[in-house]
């Protein structure tokens, strides 16, 4: 029996975020009252962030397998075969709550955490991306949050030495009280040298490696499962502090150590620190774990077992080593100047036993701690379907080119250069397509083979229709990869929603997950890793965020020289529209930004058409027949053409809309499964024939020319004016006084 010096009251249970029935479950599991340490461990394991208790039943419906998939969800990151004995290892994870409280450190440690997830599996990180959502630009907190988050991502990624090559930044008042910071990391490993957390063998040393344990981040994972309230600013001490230098040493030490064969199992200490990592190692391997906490390197004296087990200090790893190679390991740790200690060993008892100076503070069944975590099938209601808006019922507020110029300078469409120039996107020497295009392209170790990567979701569509929005998020990621000529091979998802305890929010979640699953199945685009972030709402305003299931897509390119970019390359190329005509203005950027309306159904996604059109475009790019390619998404056709013109510094002459089609629907409709291509005139016939053979609608809408964007019957605008609008917004916003 373990001495219990604190009486566990209902208040203490509640302060650990455990519901009364969850506490009863713990009592049944232990057959006695828990100690404070056990209560802390349980609260860390059973909170939403670690246990996925509200989302598990739905996540199970996602397609996670495929011929290339080596490890799907359940590991630190997804692992997918890319041929030649190599695998891509990637995942996306949120750090929303910490970033809202302390933007720099919150975002920095978000990047640090996801990088660790990737190199824990034996992969060297080759790229980072991030999907960011902030409140309305005019909200007093927004500018400070953008500045802090971007600086945090830059500060960590640049020093660690990984190129940050892409992502998204959006603004909407629904994020006023709860920004989203989703970081994605992509790494490369050999398929025969993938490491997991599954411990094997009894009596093997458990080694702690990396930074010392401090009091930072205690109960961070519980905070991440909490709704923001007025007192949130007081939670600052629970935000961890990142040290990219320590992480860089940890990376090099881990990869060097892995190459020696000394590592049997390895797990980074992320959310809920030592608790989660140790339980995971034991539970996966069907073993018990004994930890002796007096051996844990600590930053300050007097830390209790409770604090040590729940600390979320950064840049720490736990590993099970081959006892025969302990000396080799020691040399590597000393070379890199890292703290390390044998802090325990594996056992055959199946128990998770925590001791300090001989006293036992916790003794729990390790398997059940994971398996018996609460599981909810929460009540949900489907979102109300919105009517489809007929384009001719919407009165254009201004002419076509004025609309374009205004749209190009709106917060969601303006150039993100200000953001990505803060990120080192060229380190590694393998970034062959920079931020600002449809997908970034990073070569593999200087060779012909390359990976394309992107993050996508359109939250306003998800809000309008969760199922279609979920489909669209996957389809857009798939399309962006296809637009550069890559074969989409797998995705990671970061599902950001409000409180699952509200049926309408749970309905958004269920709808989006179903949409994601449907699209992933039809497009052969399995989900190999992911993260769920719930309770993204603000107690003061009662506002939940827009449903934001961010999709991180990865595509394979056999030869990076056979890819396409958005930039027009020369005058005199034919401009083609692939896919149907613009017709759909419901839930569009045009409607929201120019008419202040956020109503209407979003554009429907026909996945069969997506696949047919995307496959056709990818084949054309692979055949070298495409000079430039861009998918049609936010802002519609004319915004896509304008972005291609600005990227290349080459203008375009476009035909007017066809007879009978409203101009604003043609130029700004956000109908799906569409691309704009630039093609050399000599190749035009071949391209048209190939597309017709594929059954893909195509029409020539103009040609590249000069330094202006000219549309028959609508007039023209100089690229210089357009560029000023497009590039001007972000720096002006960031430099303005609050």
């Amino acid at each position: 029996m373990i001495p219990n010096d604190t009486i566990i009251t209902p208040e203490i249970v509640a302060s650990h975020g455990l519901k009364p029935d969850e506490y009863d479950r713990l009592l049944a599991l232990l057959g006695r009252t828990p100690t404070m340490t056990e209560l802390g461990i349980t609260s860390a394991m059973w909170n939403e962030h670690c246990s996925y208790k509200s989302s598990r039943v739905h996540l199970k419906t996602l397609p996670t397998k495929g011929p290339r998939v080596i490890h799907g969800p359940g590991e630190n990151a997804g692992v997918v075969d890319i041929g030649d004995g190599m695998a891509v290892v990637f995942k996306m994870e949120s750090h929303n709550h910490p970033s809202y409280i302390e933007p720099y450190q919150g975002a920095a440690t978000g990047v640090g955490g996801i990088l660790r997830d990737v190199f824990t599996m034996g992969a060297r990180p080759i790229a980072c991306l991030n999907a960011l959502r902030f409140g309305a630009p005019e909200h007093p907190k927004t500018r400070r949050l953008v500045a802090g988050v971007v600086a945090g991502i830059a500060g960590y990624g640049n020093a660690f030495g990984v190129p940050t090559v892409g992502g998204e930044v959006n603004f909407h008042s629904a994020y006023d009280g709860n920004c989203l910071v989703n970081a994605m990391a992509v790494g490369i490993a050999r398929t025969n040298a993938i490491f997991t957390s599954e411990a094997t063998g009894v009596g093997r040393p458990i080694v702690y490696l990396g930074s010392k344990t401090g009091r930072d981040g205690i109960h961070g994972a519980t905070m991440a499962s909490d709704v923001f309230s007025e007192g949130s600013d007081e939670k600052r001490p629970t935000v961890q502090v990142g040290d990219p230098f320590a992480e860089k040493l940890l990376l090099e030490a881990c990869l060097e150590l892995m190459a020696t064969g000394a590592v049997i199992a390895i797990q980074d200490m992320g959310a809920a620190g030592l608790t989660c990592s140790a339980v995971e190692m034991g539970a996966k391997g069907g073993l018990g774990v004994q930890l002796d906490l007096e051996k844990v390197p600590t930053r300050e004296p007097g830390m209790t077992p409770y604090e040590i087990m729940l600390s979320e200090s950064q840049e720490r790893m736990l590993m099970v080593l081959d006892p025969a190679k302990e000396a080799v390991a020691r040399d590597v740790f000393i070379k890199w100047g890292l703290d390390f200690a044998v802090v325990g060993h594996t056992t055959d008892t199946g128990r998770f036993v925590i001791s300090m100076h001989g006293d036992v503070y916790a003794d729990m069944p390790i398997q059940e701690l994971g398996d018996q975590s609460p599981l909810y099938n929460r009540p949900w209601v489907a979102s109300v379907k919105r009517p489809t808006l007929a384009a001719d019922s919407i009165k254009p507020p201004c002419g076509t080119l004025e609309a374009l110029q205004r749209l190009m300078a709106t917060p969601d469409l303006a150039s993100r250069r200000w953001v990505w120039e803060h990120y080192d996107h060229v380190i590694g020497g393998d970034t062959v397509q920079l931020p600002g295009g449809d997908a970034a392209i990073v070569r593999i170790e200087g060779g012909a083979k390359a990976l394309a990567m992107t993050t996508d979701v359109t939250p306003r569509y998800c809000f309008a229709d969760p199922f279609e929005g979920g489909k669209q998020a996957v389809a857009e990621a798939w399309r962006n990869l296809s637009s550069v000529g890559a074969l989409p091979i797998a995705l990671t998802d970061n599902l950001n929603f409000g409180s699952p305890e509200r049926p309408e929010i749970m309905g958004q979640f269920v709808g989006c997950v179903r949409g994601i699953g449907e699209a992933a199945r039809v497009l052969d685009f399995p989900v190999v890793s992911g993260n769920v972030s719930l309770y993204n709402e603000n107690k003061v305003t009662g506002n939940a965020i827009l449903p934001t299931p961010a999709i991180g897509g990865v595509g394979l390119i056999e030869d990076w020289r056979k890819t396409a970019s958005v930039a027009f390359k020369a005058s005199g190329h034919a401009i083609l529209l692939i896919g149907g005509e613009g017709s759909h203005l419901g839930a569009s950027i045009y409607l929201r930004e120019l008419l202040m309306r956020e109503d209407g159904a979003p554009p429907p996604v026909d996945l069969t058409v997506e696949k047919r059109n995307g496959d056709a475009v990818r084949h054309l790019i692979g055949s070298g027949l495409v000079k430039a390619c861009h998918d049609v998404s936010d802002g519609g056709l004319l915004v896509a053409v304008a972005e291609m013109a600005l990227a290349g510094g080459i203008g375009a002459k476009l035909k007017a809309e066809p007879k009978g089609v409203p101009a604003h629907a043609w130029f700004f409709g956000e109908d799906q499964a569409r691309y704009v291509l630039a093609v050399a005139k000599d190749d035009l016939e071949t391209v048209m024939a190939r597309l017709r053979d594929a059954g893909t609608p195509v029409q020539q809408i103009g040609e590249t020319a000069g330094r202006t964007l000219t549309i028959s019957r609508h007039g023209s605008i100089s690229l210089g004016d357009l560029l000023k609008s497009h590039e001007g917004w972000f720096p002006a916003f960031m430099n303005a006084a609050n």
Binding site: N158, F245, H422, D424, I427, G429
Partner: protein, 232 residues
Amino acid sequence: MKAAVIVFPGSNRERDMARALKQAVGTPPAMVWHAETALPAGTDLVVLPGGFSYGDYLRCGAIAALSPIMSAVSEHAKRGGLVLGVCNGFQILCEARLLPGVLVRNAGVGFLCKPVHLRVETSASPFTRGYRRGERITVPIAHGEGNWVADSETVAKVEDRGLVAFRYCDERGRVSPGTSPNGATNEIAGLFNAKKNVLGLMPHPENAIEPAHGSTDGFGLFLSMAGALADA
């Protein structure tokens, strides 16, 4: 050419640098850990790569300049051996007093990563002999502290003796106040020591060596060094 790339804890462009050196001369450089006290026998070029040595939490490069290997690097420089420092390497060379002045925080902006234009100020050096004097080249920068400053006497000396290797310029090769992205004195992007066997520069020539990088202008620096050492 026998090159050695020094790896400090926190170096992060050593792999980029090794790739560029290998591409220029065919053989990979030796990677030398900072805790070593001697360079590999026969080393004729030492490179201090980019990164955030020791996290750069103090003055950039200040701790790395005290690393065990640095006495061997100084000796090598004193003997007339070639030493190249890029970005954090440049900062370390200044801290180690192998180059004058110091690099401080970029003026007005934070960390900045983008292609910049440089004007080659002289072709009379083992590092720049493959370029034409006045030639404009394009290479990326990626730094937060690349603003070179020195006291006026030092600046005058550097200018009078023609020790400026590269200056930030506009796309037409013109240098004027403001063409530097970071506020560097006299738009200086790179400079030599008095004997021109030590070069430090903030931009990354190793990230502009092949078509995939969008510019191959940086490769001239590596070919220059290889040529100079082959002739020596």
